[in-house]
């Protein structure tokens, strides 16, 4: 075998220590699905806890008040921002998925609709977050 390559000789193979490139680089569709999953599971666990704490009122009103009282801390206030962020994204993206499934041109405009979802999410959060944080931190 004649080793004659243009401009340089092939270097000996080395074993790379870097483990990379294993993550699939999807685009808007895949990342909206990932976010939809994450927010969906997060909302599910919130609802689970929410049903349990609401059901406490049947056990004893004092226990219910004690649990609800612990929610009125700034940490939970910030948590509520995350909760609303998740629900708002899940709701708007849910409408996008319905349009993809039932509107004949839905899949053609899925990328545009993804950015519309992000835009609506930003507008909603801009309206909600400052007002909510003022309430949380002014107590």
């Amino acid at each position: 075998m004649s080793v004659k390559t243009a401009g340089g000789s092939p270097t000996a193979p080395t074993t790379s220590k870097r483990i990379s490139g294993t993550l699939y680089r999807g685009r808007e569709g895949m990342w909206s699905w990932v976010l939809h999953r994450i927010t969906g599971v997060a909302i599910f666990f919130f609802l689970l806890v929410h049903i349990l704490d609401t059901a406490l009122v049947r056990v004893s009103p004092e226990a219910y008040n004690a649990v609800i009282g612990t929610y009125q801390t700034p940490i939970m206030g910030v948590g509520e921002v995350a909760l609303v962020a998740a629900i708002v994204f899940h709701a708007f993206n849910g409408l996008r998925i319905i349009l993809i499934d039932f509107w004949s041109k839905g899949s053609r405009y899925q990328k545009v609709m993804f950015y519309v979802v992000i835009g609506l999410w930003v507008v909603t959060m801009v309206g909600f977050v400052p007002r909510h944080l003022i309430n949380v931190f002014s107590h």
Partner: protein, 252 residues
Amino acid sequence: MSTATLDAPTQDDAVQSFTVTFIIRRFDPEVDDEPRWQDFDVEMFATDRVLDALHKIKWEQDGSLTFRRSCAHGICGSDAMRINGRNRLACKTLIKDLDISKPIYVEAIKGLPLEKDLVVDMEPFFESYREVQPFLIARSEPGAGKERVQSVADRARFDDTTKCILCAACTSSCPVFWTDGQYFGPAAIVNAHRFIFDSRDDAAKVRLDILNDKEGVWRCRTTFNCTEACPRGIQITQAIAEVKQAVMRGKP
């Protein structure tokens, strides 16, 4: 006029070449327990393809590198692989379209059993393909002239899904298929679509029943990875959506 134009190009005229680093996920079932990454530096021209790089590595550096390719021109669908985190055909991916300031990662497609280096076992993929009965099933005799005449509009109805070359780039880009190998996958649904919406075919109902399954079209989560990955530009998610609608209507 001078005839010197046919002379061999001088050093100044030579097309510029680049040293490109490829990091390839290797796996030899007889030696390795786990796949490993290996670097290769290859001298490439901007107009070369990733397949040319694999050839250079195999022919000049390491003859044990294993991959599939047949036609090498984007028709046979043998060389689908994950290049820089996206499924593509190595023979249709030009070096100039990749960022060669960083290494180029090449690995086998995901979701199918890895056999060696870039070769996977395609049998589960073809099994799903066979299950949707991808052949014409007609209950009537052909008309006069022994042809099944079809209008241009009827032919255009399924034109997009006739382009499939069964390279598995779509099915192995699907997050649902990665975690649930029982899912039919985009390619099988595309090929079912090709016959479901064919006016000459009489077995649409059968195929819709096959795909109206827990592992059928309803597994699709519209991530659009298949549409992005398809080297033939088929609007796969659109085709799956049309099959979903047909399942709900009960007819094409």
